[in-house]
Symmetry: C2
DNA sequence: GCTCAATGATTGATAGCTCAAATAATCAAT
DNA sequence: ATTGATTATTTGAGCTATCAATCATTGAGC
């Protein structure tokens, strides 16, 4: 029992530590923070999307979304406008420049990910993903 | 190839998101942030330890360690003193109060961890741990 | 039409983290 | 003994994240 608990505890710490180390390293590799990368990346798929829908996809707090997008807008990477059909919503879209930027990061991101998951088999990646998603469900 | 990359990407995002969600939830359950919990928890094992050694164990930036310990000291949970044998070092130790506090969190932490790893077998926990450690190595 | 609840976005407060630079003490080698 | 490199801690700057509160808009029910 005691051993099992320690293991859980260690995993808890490890998850946090790993993520703390991951962020800065990713940013140094790609010149884009992980969150901003994710936002831009999602905007490639959905050519237009409201902030609140974007928020549901990336699972970051509303407030953080607003701040990121405002900054990305002033950097010229996305455009934002009110939805005429529902003035509460803000619709976000990649600009030409934003598209170029995210595309030019792809190579760096790829090599970062390759290093990160060096010697992981597809089966392992899959199983890791499933476990992390289970944890996410468990703490909801 | 393309599929595999997406999977890596998703894992990257998932790790960050999970950790972002984990911290606040842990804190709400235990009234102690995950980092501070970890610091106090380590101090149970090593009755006395220098800040730099503690830093190596918990893998948080020096600066953050200093700030946490200063706050914990002013909360009366740890005591700090210079090492007479080497005046560069600060030696940290749990106080009576700190010991009581960390012990009273144990139950909450345990139930949090149990919920988080609900329906995980020992084998799964083990494999998860190994994979996360491998990632940590890979990005060093 | 009007009120009231809901939804979406924003802002303010607070806290965590990293990195880089500064300070202070120790130690090694001349 | 002095200089110079190393080690430990601290402080400052800059991000990102959460939570709570606020504001505007929409929509449902009377």
């Amino acid at each position: 029992m005691n051993i099992k608990i320690s293991e859980q505890e260690e995993l808890l710490f490890l998850l946090k530590t790993l993520s703390n180390q991951l962020g800065p390293k990713f940013e140094r590799s790609t010149n884009l923070s992980l969150s901003r990368f994710e936002l831009l990346y999602q905007l490639i798929q959905y050519s237009e999307i409201s902030q609140s829908n974007l928020q549901k996809i990336v699972n970051i707090d509303h407030a953080a979304i607003t701040r990121h997008l405002k900054q990305l807008e002033s950097d010229g990477l996305v455009s934002r406008r009110r939805n005429p059909a529902d003035n509460r919503e803000t619709i976000v879209q990649l600009t030409e420049e934003g598209y170029k930027q995210i595309m030019s990061c792809q190579k760096d991101k790829l090599s970062f990910a390759n290093q990160m998951f060096q010697q992981f088999s597809d089966v392992e990646l899959q199983s890791l993903m499933v476990m992390l998603k289970r944890i996410q469900e468990n703490i909801k």
